[in-house]
């Protein structure tokens, strides 16, 4: 009876990776909308994690995001990712205005065994993710206005021994001059732990 109960509550490594990638996908889309990077009319409302989330309808954005997230998922299963940075920069001057860091930690057993399972209930994980997504939406109340045309890029911090596909290239990390940092809530799937931090340009 106990084993049956455990298997019901268990979350697999693949399931955990999917949750993390879903969070990143909806988190990035929420940031793009909340920070006004793209016009609001290019977003549609979808229900995820018990929340109404605004997702971009721009095919070019989706064509950029999907391969990145798919590749990330593979690296995540191999435990090769340390963090992902979403860098928002001024289109004209290339100055970095804002950086969202999604930091990953691998919990449970240290190996990348595909059969490893977590012990956290899905509803609990979804509630935690919902809380972080809510917090992302509420950051608009204190983050400074991005009053210049901005673009975004995703930078993946991986371990040195990662196999890099042809479409990927090595790049320099992005800094923000005079930055202030805010740690948002974390969530854990019991296999992966995700910390979200936003750094923004503070005019002193």
């Amino acid at each position: 009876m106990a084993t049956k109960q455990q298997s019901q509550n268990a979350i697999t490594l693949k399931g955990s990776a999917k949750l993390v990638m879903d969070y990143l996908n909806f988190g990035i889309n929420s940031i793009l909308f909340q920070r006004g990077i793209y016009p609001p009319e290019s977003f549609k409302t979808e229900e995820h994690f018990g929340l109404s989330i605004l997702v971009s309808t721009d095919s070019k954005i989706q064509q950029f995001l999907q391969p990145v997230l798919n590749q990330m998922k593979d690296w995540l299963l191999e435990q090769k990712i340390q963090k992902m940075s979403m860098v928002i920069s001024n289109v004209n001057t290339k100055e970095v205005m804002e950086r969202w860091d999604f930091k990953l930690q691998y919990e449970g057993s240290g190996d990348s065994n595909p059969d490893s399972v977590g012990n956290k209930e899905l509803t609990t994980i979804q509630k935690e993710i919902r809380d972080v997504l809510r917090q992302i939406c509420s950051t608009v109340s204190f983050l400074p206005l991005l009053d210049c045309p901005c673009a975004f890029d995703l930078q993946i911090y991986t371990k040195p021994d990662v196999d890099v596909p042809q479409e990927w290239s090595e790049t320099a990390p992005s800094y923000i001059a005079n930055s202030q940092e805010l740690q948002l809530r974390s969530f854990s799937t019991s296999l992966h732990r995700m910390d979200t931090v936003v750094s923004y340009k503070a005019d002193f």
Binding site: R35, G36, I37, Y38, P39, P40, D58, K60, I61, Q63, F64, L65, P67, V68, Q71, Q82, K83, V91, D101, K103, V140, P144, L145, L146, D147, P149, C150, A151, F152, D153, L154, Q155, I156, Y157, T158, K159, P160, V162, V164, E167, W168, S169, E170, T171, A172, P173, Y175, V197, D203
Partner: protein, 505 residues
């Protein structure tokens, strides 16, 4: 003669519009000479591999000399199979990365162990990881830029990108935790009762079951004022506006009058036969409302205290408030009615029938308060089925505004310090909400009570709001602390000598 030739040489040397005849030959001339002297075998091979290039066609030639013209006509044959020099494509070169890589290679030279450790720690702090132990990768196909001419729509939300300093200073700090929590064991959890009141002399009266306790906010001393006997219990309390008299309503109907300074009961007024849930003072008149919907005006100075009776509610009166100027009386009942009456018995304006009877609320109207700076404006709040706060102009009987509070409204108080009001609520958050008036935007929500809030009272200085909850706690919230700058200004103004001189009292 020789001097002329010297002058001519000098002139020709400084003239800028003639071709240079002496000095090293131009590069394209050298190349053409080299190419003609090279073997035919090599040139044939090269011609098979790639088309012949005339270097002068690439190198701008501004010289108009015959020599240059003839040279440009001769076909240039490359010296080596590679052709002209290699010019790299700069479009595909990422100079930022190159610079970063070059610096990274050279940065650790001649560093002491301490410096390298410091650098490593700094790097880890900046990047959240050891940058030498990670690869930073990005997808080569970049995300699209926003459409041309697109302006961030959030500009509307922000009036300007930087908040002006004067505005920044204007937003006051409201503590979201209570300043003090007092126990209120056995406080009766009944929406229709009014069990707390804060006096002019800073004494808080609290009804706990059959007893009334007085808490001195200055000294912290607690005294029991009275204890009812039998099945009776306290149902309402009300201090006379500028004194130590306390009206005590009971479940059996009699209203008691107590002098708190002497802990002495002055009289009992048998105005009602059912419980008195609401009371309000207008000078020496104590108006009481009871369970059967009746209102009674009691003149506490007279032996025959009943000076007027009003029967306009069909169910229990749970809210009762005289306006600050004494012109209007508002009563709210369990029949969902809000009635407004004019004047006192004996006055020319007095009417025993309500001048306005508002039926817009969809639940019992307990929460009532008159605006201190607009004495004709009344705020009222409805119970669970209504959940709205409405604002009324009692000069013309119009509903000025309304706001959905999303939960049962248990009490309302206007601030004496700011153009704001505070409302107390029940399920689900049991919170106090501070509203700006007249915009009705939420200033703050103060949570902490674990059960619905029953009543609110305000300190005499207007800085502190006390909430009594069904969780048997009294919580003090310093939500209307005066602005220190305004306070200083006020003190300066009051300390200024008057024109009338010090002798006049």
């Amino acid at each position: 003669m020789s001097q002329f030739s010297y002058v001519n040489d000098l002139k020709s040397a400084v003239r800028m519009d003639e071709p240079i005849t002496s000095g090293p030959a131009p590069r394209w001339m050298k190349k053409s000479v080299e190419s003609t002297s090279s073997s035919a075998n090599t040139s044939r091979k090269t011609n098979e591999l790639m088309p012949i290039k005339k270097t002068p066609s690439k190198t701008p030639n501004k010289s108009k000399s015959p020599a240059s013209r003839s040279a440009s006509n001769t076909p240039a044959k490359p010296k080596t199979p590679g052709g002209d020099r290699f010019i790299p494509s700069r479009m595909s070169t990422n100079f930022d990365i190159s610079h970063f890589k070059m610096n990274q290679e050279n940065e650790n030279l001649d560093l002491s162990p301490t410096q390298s450790d410091y650098r490593k720690a700094m790097s880890e702090n900046l990047h959240g990881c050891d940058i030498n132990n990670v690869r930073v990768l990005s997808y080569q196909n970049k995300a699209p830029a926003p459409p041309d001419g697109y302006q961030n729509a959030l500009k509307v939300v922000y009036s300007q990108s930087k908040t002006p300093m004067n505005v920044r200073g204007a937003t006051r700090y409201i503590p979201h935790a209570p300043d003090r929590i007092l126990d209120a064991p056995e406080i009766v959890d009944d929406y229709y009762l009014n069990l707390i009141d804060w006096s002019f002399s800073n004494i808080l009266a609290v009804a706990l079951g059959t007893s009334v306790y007085l808490w001195n906010a200055d000294t912290g001393a607690i005294d029991q004022l009275l204890d009812l006997e039998g099945a009776d219990y306290v149902t309402s309390l009300s201090w006379v506006p500028n004194g130590n008299l306390l009206g005590v309503g009971t479940a059996l109907g009699p209203v008691q009058l107590w002098d708190a300074s002497q802990t002495k009961r002055l009289r009992i007024m048998n105005s009602h036969s059912s419980r008195v849930g609401a009371m309000s003072w207008n000078s020496h008149i104590l108006t009481t409302g009871c369970r059967n919907g009746q209102l009674v005006h009691n003149d506490v100075r007279q032996r025959e205290h009943i000076v007027g009776t009003i029967q306009s509610h069909t169910q229990e009166v749970c809210g009762l408030k005289w306006s600050t100027d004494g012109r209007y009386l508002a009563s709210g009942g369990n029949d969902n009615l809000l009635n407004v009456y004019s004047g006192l018995p004996g006055q020319a304006t007095y009417q025993s029938e309500p001048i306005y009877s508002f039926s817009q609320h969809q639940a019992a109207v307990k929460a009532l308060d008159w605006c201190p700076w607009q004495t004709n404006v009344l705020a009222s709040g409805g119970g669970t089925a209504d959940r709205t706060i409405r604002f009324w102009n009692c000069n013309n009987g119009q509903c000025i505004n309304s706001v959905n509070a999303n939960s049962q409204v248990c009490a309302i108080l206007w601030s004496k310090t700011y153009r704001e009001l505070v409302s107390a609520h029940g399920f689900a958050n049991n919170q106090l909400t501070i509203w700006k008036y007249p915009s009705l935007t939420k200033v703050a929500e103060l949570t902490g009570h674990t059960n619905r809030i029953l009543n609110l009272a305000m300190s005499p200085d207007g800085s502190t709001v006390l909430s009594a909850g069904a969780d048997e706690t009294l919580r003090m919230w310093k939500c209307f602390l005066p602005d220190p700058n305004k306070k200083k200004e006020h003190e300066k103004r009051s300390s200024r000598p008057t024109m009338l001189g010090p002798g006049l009292r």
